[in-house]
């Protein structure tokens, strides 16, 4: 009986938790964007959101080590105690794998990799990540793209895909609000600028008004009647986006369009084949089509950062190999004593470079997938499943940091040991040959 009561209470709690989540904390439909978003530009440098968070992780580690080492005591307490415990744990791990001498030699780099990755991964789980950002005016961006193609006189070479949320503002900073549905607009490859504009007009009418296309293909090119009906629907609704029209060749009209404060392109426009007029811009008097570009995004959800770290690891391993074995280290890769060894050396060389790719994609894949999973579940099942996945992501963040650091360590150990192993191999083969020779003599 008691078990039944506990079971019922647990079920009610789970359903209630899920219900509350769905009602008040449902995230917006996520827009998965693979490359890191550029937040600002400093000269020729692009400052992306993942770069900002990498700096934050570095700043955190620097401040933590400063605080921990200020006024150090023989009997540590507080932050100093915590940091010492972490460092001792790491040193113990490194020495277990690499031995005391090599362990201490590799420790600084390996521990840096571990701490930087784990801090970045765990920092990426904070609620401010992927939630606060500047809003990108997608509505204006689509029109801008169409105008660019119209000026060049070329059709769209590749499929263009735009996603956005309905938002009150565009162009400022915003916090992602719960419950936003995403709308998607596609321009198929081969569409001319004018046809793309017709598609855009119909898309705006479908998104902002009750307008629906009758018959025909959902994603096919709209007919002239449909575009005209869409324009009427847009004009009938005061909150819906408005097309800023201009007659062909009359510059004065363009100036009017600019003066109205729309997103018109100065002196340019696109002629709609269905309407026979030039559209100089689109104005959004009510809700806008925009996306929140997050200012903070997990550092290693950007493949550039994981590649950078992979290359650092590669350079360090090669440096330690050369430092220990001198130019003899290169014999592993360039051994022309017989064709088999030459081929094996070539394989070793490729292997060495594949490690960079393997390093980069393992870390990137795990962190990016985790980020997408959390965003998706915040939209589909807030609170309930996300809580579990957060726990999993904490674990993944730790494991990936450990894997990266320990693999660098193991490769370093292999690089500095290789020569001895080879000598041992040669030695045993010499002994083998000698014993065979001996046998032959006897």
């Amino acid at each position: 009986m008691k078990k039944v009561v506990i079971g019922v209470i647990a079920a009610v709690a789970v359903i209630g938790w899920l219900g509350i989540g769905l009602l008040i904390a449902r995230g917006p439909q996520p827009e998965v964007i693979l490359p890191a978003e550029i937040i600002t530009r400093v000269g020729p440098l692009n400052i992306s959101n993942t770069l900002i968070t990498a700096w934050m992780s570095m700043a955190f580690l620097i401040v933590l080590s400063l605080v921990a080492t200020r006024g150090m005591r023989l009997l540590p307490s507080g932050v100093q105690n915590f940091v010492e415990a972490v460092i001792e744990f790491l040193l113990d791990q490194v020495e277990q794998v690499a031995g005391t001498v090599n362990g201490r030699r590799f420790f600084a780099a390996v521990a840096t990799f571990f701490l930087f990755i784990i801090v970045s991964n765990w920092m990426g789980l904070l609620p401010i990540f992927n939630a606060i950002g500047k809003t990108e005016d997608v509505g204006a961006e689509i029109f801008h793209e169409i105008v660019l193609h119209a000026e060049e006189g070329k059709p769209f070479e590749e499929d263009e895909h735009f996603s956005a949320w309905f938002m009150e503002n565009a162009g400022g900073f915003a916090i992602t609000k719960p419950g936003g549905e995403a709308v998607e607009f596609e321009i198929p490859a081969g569409t001319s600028a004018g046809e793309a504009l017709d598609r855009y007009i119909v898309f705006l009418a479908e998104s902002f008004t009750d307008f629906e296309r009758h018959g025909g293909e959902e994603h096919g090119a709209p007919t002239a009647e449909e575009v005209r009906a869409a324009l009427e629907a847009l004009e009938a609704d005061p909150e819906a986006p408005k097309l800023l029209l201009a007659e062909v060749g009359e510059e004065g009209e363009h100036a009017d369009a600019e003066a109205e404060g729309g997103h018109g392109e100065a002196g340019h426009g696109v002629e709609s084949p269905a309407l026979g007029v030039v559209v100089a811009g689109v104005d959004f008097p009510g809700q806008k089509l925009a996306l929140v570009i997050p200012v903070f995004r997990s550092t290693f959800s950007d493949v550039n950062n994981t590649f950078a770290l992979g290359i650092c690891s590669f350079i360090l391993v090669e440096f330690w190999g050369l430092q220990s074995l001198g130019l003899g280290y290169l014999r592993k890769f360039f051994n022309f004593s017989n064709p088999v060894l030459t081929f094996v050396g070539f394989l070793e060389l490729i292997s060495e470079f594949i490690r960079i790719v393997s390093f980069a994609f393992r870390l990137f894949g795990n962190i990016f997938a985790g980020e997408v999973l959390i965003l998706m579940l915040t939209y589909l099942m807030p609170f309930l499943l996300v809580d579990i996945i957060y726990g999993l992501e904490l674990f993944v963040g730790f494991i990936q940091a450990a894997v990266f650091a320990l693999l660098t360590l193991v490769f370093a150990v292999m690089a500095v040991e290789h020569h001895d192993e080879e000598h041992e191999g040669e030695h045993t083969s010499e002994q083998h040959a000698a014993s065979h020779g001996g046998l032959a003599h006897t």
Binding site: S351, I354, R355, F361, R362, A402, V403, L406, M414
Partner: protein, 79 residues
Amino acid sequence: MGRWLAPAAYLTGIGWYFATCIILGVALGHWADGRTGLEPIFTLLGALAGLGLALYGGVRMLISFLARYGGGDQGESRR
């Protein structure tokens, strides 16, 4: 924790090494097919080369793993 962490990390690395070799081989082959129009010759060659490299590197890493963390005999003696 120390007992399993390093071997687990190492084995994860070997798994990813396998995957990366094969995917890179196929991707390079596919790219070469696109350039030459000889589909699917280079894709198959790339897949084979990737697989070969994965086997070679994987076996080398596994031998190194066994040398470092012991084979079945040591495992039994620990028990």
